[in-house]
Symmetry: C2
Subunit: 253 residues, 2 copies
Amino acid sequence: MARGKDNALDAGDKVGTICRALRRAIIEQALEPGAKLPEDTLGERFGVSRTIARHALGQLAAEGLIELRRNRIAVVATPSWQEARDAFDVRIEMERLVVRQLAGRLSRAQLAELEAHVDLEDAARDGPDAVSIRLATEFHVLLAQMTNSPILIRYVSELAYRCCLTLSLYSRPHSSECAINEHRLVIAALAAGDTDRVMELMGHHLESVASRALVGPGKPHGLDLMGVLAPYAAEARDAVPARRVGRPRLRTG
Amino acid sequence: MARGKDNALDAGDKVGTICRALRRAIIEQALEPGAKLPEDTLGERFGVSRTIARHALGQLAAEGLIELRRNRIAVVATPSWQEARDAFDVRIEMERLVVRQLAGRLSRAQLAELEAHVDLEDAARDGPDAVSIRLATEFHVLLAQMTNSPILIRYVSELAYRCCLTLSLYSRPHSSECAINEHRLVIAALAAGDTDRVMELMGHHLESVASRALVGPGKPHGLDLMGVLAPYAAEARDAVPARRVGRPRLRTG
DNA sequence: CGATAGGCAATTGCATGCACTTTTCCGGGC
DNA sequence: GCCCGGAAAAGTGCATGCAATTGCCTATCG
């Protein structure tokens, strides 16, 4: 192995690791839309070179999570209201497809897994918003994964993340109460194998989430970009062995 | 710019240029599934360094057009039959969404553009298969573009390309006759603003295309990889100024 | 004759360096 | 006081070099 002696948790997929960390930071709203992501700062944070950071940014840009303009610093995407609405429309259709494929076809174990996840969401209700938002999103991703269709999984995940982003721009604080109940209803209908009903439920559920994103021109933001990233980098590999970490510059997106 | 002094046609977006060229080579089946794409050979062909070629491969992999495994040469994707079926299922849903949004909302000019495209398909009927396949695919992409929804555009394009790939693996030679007629029917229904009918038509059309991909375990293939790529590279920039082009190695996927 | 281990060529993984572009900051003019 | 212009700083675009891995080819052994 190279000199760096990475700990084995990172199975060599540095780019993937960075992507996952950034995605998570974004859906937990630690990185708000518009936040700047300079290649070299990112590289320092994760203990890799700009080349790798750049590659990761490329992937995230392909997913629509960040915006990449030539010769400009990458920023977390700031979807327009119209784009947000489009994303939700497509997402609704895709997730209806997911539950259509799943209705009546889930094993007892899978249903239990879903229930367990919703229990988790329930438990996190009093915790920080960031966590409950992430969990709510992951419920939908979990459903998609049960289809075993790589394409569906990828698209639903992407759309879910983008919609998360949207919510952080246009929606009010977040109240997950009813969302959690709706998740339970969906599980019940899936178990019952009631295809039409589960599609309806999912459609309504997503529509109601989307409708929370109706008004509000979005808040301006300013935050300590790289400081906020630290825990995500730390989680990715256990410590950042970056060779020469001076105090990271403060950026205020 | 560096020493290379590219001609101005390439607006600096080298990665995008390579992606487009490769995508096109793939959908025209000049690059068959399984064909190898070594970074440096690619770089030589397009007159860029491995860094850029690598980045392009990363993007294409994100789109599912090629497969990228660690420490291994990138290859054009070889979707399993199941993946292919999934892709078609999702695609059908997405394109129904497209025409739903479009029905009755197209301008006269847009309808004319669609007709013109189908005329092109018609004219290409006697030409090489590669061209008529590409045109058929582009009809669907064109429709998607008219929605002005970046997400829809991206997903439909991706899916259309992937399905193309599929056809080259599992389908018989290609007879575009009826497909062209179906395209015309779709246009007519769009113009009439008959939402339900156009969704039905599009669904049937895609289903019938998919059904052509039912049997056949796929043909083995062998081809002169980089030789076949030359025209695509040439089209991308007018000539390849690569510094030291020895005879490119022949690879036989 | 077939299977196998070892070595070499091909290829990827990644960091670094240099050129170019954009942004920022500062001083002078209006 | 505000706007403009120019230079320094920050950042990206890209090529190249080196280490590590893989894959192939061959010589050797059963």
